[in-house]
């Protein structure tokens, strides 16, 4: 279990967040995790909808924001996926986006369980 967590989440980032909590913000980590878990799925739905509609600026903006959101929790694989999607959106190259979107959906499930494990 620990092995999967490491590839899914950058433990250094998680450690830094936990350190913040230790520095005097009790409950901050749990709060951020919860925020992330409730906020991300609707955003990913939005990304998917934009992709289905062929709305490339919409894809770019949604992926950009998801990318920075995931960066906060060290979800490196997701960050990479959204970065690629953002680039494709910017270059108006819709072909590969759906497969990347479905990959990101699968990865999100992994991130979710990894985060719940770290709690």
């Amino acid at each position: 279990m620990a092995d999967t967590n490491e590839t899914v989440l950058d433990m250094e980032v998680i450690g830094a967040l936990r350190a913040l909590e230790a520095d005097g913000a009790p409950g901050l980590f749990a709060e951020i995790v919860e925020l992330f878990l409730t906020d991300t799925p609707p955003r990913m739905k939005g990304l998917e909808a934009a992709s289905d509609a062929g709305d490339m600026p919409g894809v770019e903006a949604a992926a950009h924001s998801l990318k920075s959101s995931c960066g906060n929790l060290g979800a490196t694989v997701l960050v990479d996926l959204f970065k690629q999607i953002e680039m494709l959106g910017r270059e108006h190259a819709p072909e590969e986006i759906p497969s990347l979107v479905s990959k990101s959906n699968e990865e999100f499930v992994r991130v979710q369980s990894a985060l719940l494990n770290t709690k």
Binding site: A16, L20, A25, L28, I32, D39, A61, S68, S69, L73
Partner: protein, 650 residues
């Protein structure tokens, strides 16, 4: 009220007023459309006045800008309005050398006024406060109301002066008010207004003896001029004083020294410079001046009599801009997780955090809650970070807020655009809280300095001279890149505009070198921002050492630098760029564990007639950097002009 008293004085027909050429200048400036050519034709009718104006324009110039040779030149350099104001005041001197008031010492009056002018011009020049020419003019006329009262009420004013001479404790201003229902300062201000001088001239005169706090609407120009006038008044009195009086005045002189931020030898040299310039001007205008005592002697005598008070003055007015305190920070991000993390980091550091989820909300909150710092993401729906910053800079309330922009890795290339929009600094995402808080600390420094200025204005009476130091620190901070200590983009753009103006006029070659550190992003990515910062600092140092004295090096973006090379042609600038390039290449950077060298790509451009403004010159240098990058980096390139005629493909 005062206007009414002043109109009565004016109706007497005896107030000092310009005559001859001065009157012509006054009439000219009262017509709705006059320009440099009108000014030149009016003033050049008087060769002595013309040469005085040229002499003054030269003496207030910063070093190395080139000599002013004609009235036309002077008007272009320091502004036609400045020249006409100064011409007017010179003409006043010659028309009012004597008068009917027997107690009034006309010679001493003009000698003191002249000393004020000379001192003010020099103080303004040293501190970079406002225009030295304006300071000279305003200080020269700063006491002209005394002359006014002496001229209109020659007997009554004479009695008043005699009374003051007998009893040194009398306050002349209150006696004036009692007797004439107006004091000489108010007369000065009203006269300046009458002569069409800038509004802040009269404002500064009125404020000189008041606390600057009494009115919040006081403009920065007025505050600066008040500070200059106060310092120059002390310096001028000192010039004219007898040796014993000078010893008594020494503590006041030490305050001026502090405000000027000088050590003793520098201050001695400065005061002697003011003294000898005063004597020189005295000869030019045929006014009697006195010998200037060596400052060192006065200092020695003063130290023997009042060692303690002099010491205590030095300790007074210490300011610590780096002192930590909790700030009110507005965090802006459309993406809630990042916003929460950012807010968490700031809160733990002890700051009060407000949150906004887009630019529009942030704009409203800034105006309502008046935060010290705004930290905003760049990409946001509705109003993005740059639009927010531009909007704030346009609003009175948002102009002074410290703006820190969060950029994505792929946005770092566009950071110059962000500085143009008015941001103070930026942080690249993802960042750790150490980097973020370090940037916030840099902001804290400016916020502290700025607030100290406000606080002084609110609470200090009669001690506001310290503001001089604060204003200067603030000014330096505003024009300095906090990381490298080099001039920043704002400074270099101002300077480039000035050099461009000189070029337009003189056509003396002007070149710039745009420099970009190669693969700098990789340094940040592979070694972290701390090492990246160390590399920037050391590279800046190496470049500075490789440049010539007259070149101006500034950091204008993340890893981007600009060198302004006045009086340098393309070949010279290329040689210079090459020297810098080699120096950087040959320098091993050890600090931060980087242990290697970086290289730079340099683009050179030289001003020519096909360019419409300084921006075109910059753009050409930018294109040359691209050419250098395309040629494999670590080289210097220039692009021959005009680009339209350059064969695109051979």
């Amino acid at each position: 009220m005062i206007r009414k008293q002043f109109d009565e004085l004016k109706n007497s027909g005896r107030l000092p007023s310009p005559s001859g050429i001065g009157l012509k200048i006054l009439r000219m400036t009262q017509s709705p459309s006059w320009d440099i050519s009108d000014l030149v034709s009016v003033v050049s009718a008087d060769p002595a006045l013309t040469s005085r104006i040229i002499k003054l324009a030269n003496s207030v110039q910063s070093a190395g800008v080139g000599t002013v040779g004609s009235l036309q030149d002077a008007a272009i350099r320091v502004g036609a309005r400045n020249v006409s104001n100064q011409a007017l005041s010179f003409s006043l001197i010659s028309g009012h050398r004597t008068g009917r008031c027997e107690e009034f010492d006309y010679d001493r009056f003009w000698a003191l006024s002249l000393a004020c002018g000379v001192a003010a011009g020099n103080v303004a020049k040293i501190l970079g406060l406002g225009s030295p020419m304006e300071a000279f003019t305003c200080a020269l006329l700063s006491k002209v109301g005394q002359l006014g009262l002496a001229s209109v009420h020659s007997n009554a004013y004479g009695e008043l002066l005699a009374a003051c001479k007998q009893d040194g404790s009398l306050d002349i201003a209150s006696l004036e008010n009692e007797r004439f229902a107006i004091n000489s300062r108010e007369v000065t201000a009203a006269l300046m207004e009458d002569w069409g001088m800038p509004e802040y001239f009269s404002e500064s005169i009125l404020y000189q003896r008041r606390s600057l706090a009494s009115d919040e609407s006081t403009s920065k120009k007025t505050i600066e001029l008040v500070l200059v006038l106060r310092m120059s008044a002390t310096l001028a009195e000192f010039c004219l004083a007898e040796e014993d009086e000078q010893v008594e005045m020494w503590p006041a002189m030490l305050r001026v020294r502090e405000d000027l931020g000088m050590d003793q030898p520098d201050f001695e040299a400065f005061s002697e410079e003011v003294g000898s310039e005063w004597q020189e001007w005295g000869q030019t205008l045929d006014l009697t001046t006195t010998d200037v005592t060596e400052l060192e002697l006065i200092a020695q005598r003063a130290e023997k009599t009042v060692p303690e008070s002099a010491e205590s003055l030095l300790v007074d007015g210490e300011i610590d801009p780096d002192k930590f305190r909790a700030l009110r920070i507005l965090a802006v991000d459309d993406e809630p997780v990042s916003l929460r993390v950012l807010a968490g980091q700031l809160k733990i550091a002890g700051h009060e955090v407000l949150m906004a989820k887009d630019g529009e909300e942030a704009l409203a909150m800034t105006l309502e809650c008046n935060p010290h710092i705004v930290i905003s993401d760049w990409m946001m729906p509705n109003m993005d970070g740059l639009e927010l910053c531009k909007a704030l800079r346009r609003a009175q309330a948002g102009r002074s807020v410290y703006f820190l922009l969060l950029t994505g890795r792929d946005e770092e290339d566009r950071v110059v655009e962000a500085f143009e929009a008015g941001i103070d600094d930026y942080v690249a995402k993802p960042f750790n809280s150490k980097i973020l808080l370090a940037r916030v600390r840099a902001g804290l420094r400016l916020v502290n300095l700025r607030e100290q200025v406000d606080l002084e204005q609110l609470t200090q009476r009669e001690k506001t001279a310290e503001l001089g130091v604060l204003t200067r620190q603030l000014r330096e901070a505003a024009f300095t890149d906090p990381l490298t200590g080099l001039p920043n983009r704002r400074f270099s753009m101002d300077r480039l505009d000035a050099e461009w103006e000189c070029w337009v006029k003189s056509k003396q070659e002007l070149s710039v070198i745009m420099i970009d550190i190669d693969f700098f992003k990789a340094v940040n990515d592979n070694h972290g921002h701390d090492v990246g910062d160390a590399v920037l600092c050391e590279t800046a140092d190496v470049m500075k050492k490789a440049l010539r004295d007259g070149d101006i090096l500034a950091r204008i973006g993340g890893e981007e630098f600009l060198v302004i090379c006045p009086e340098t042609d393309t070949a010279g600038a290329l040689k210079c760029a090459e020297r810098v390039r080699q120096a950087v290449e040959g320098n091993i950077i050890e600090p931060g564990g980087f242990d290697g060298h970086v290289t730079i790509s340099a683009g050179v451009s030289t001003a020519d007639d096909s360019m419409v403004d300084a921006y075109a010159l910059l753009k050409a240098a930018d294109e040359a950097v691209y050419a250098a990058k395309a040629d494999g980096r670590n080289c210097s390139r220039t692009i021959s002009r005009p680009p339209m005629e350059l064969p695109r493909s051979a």
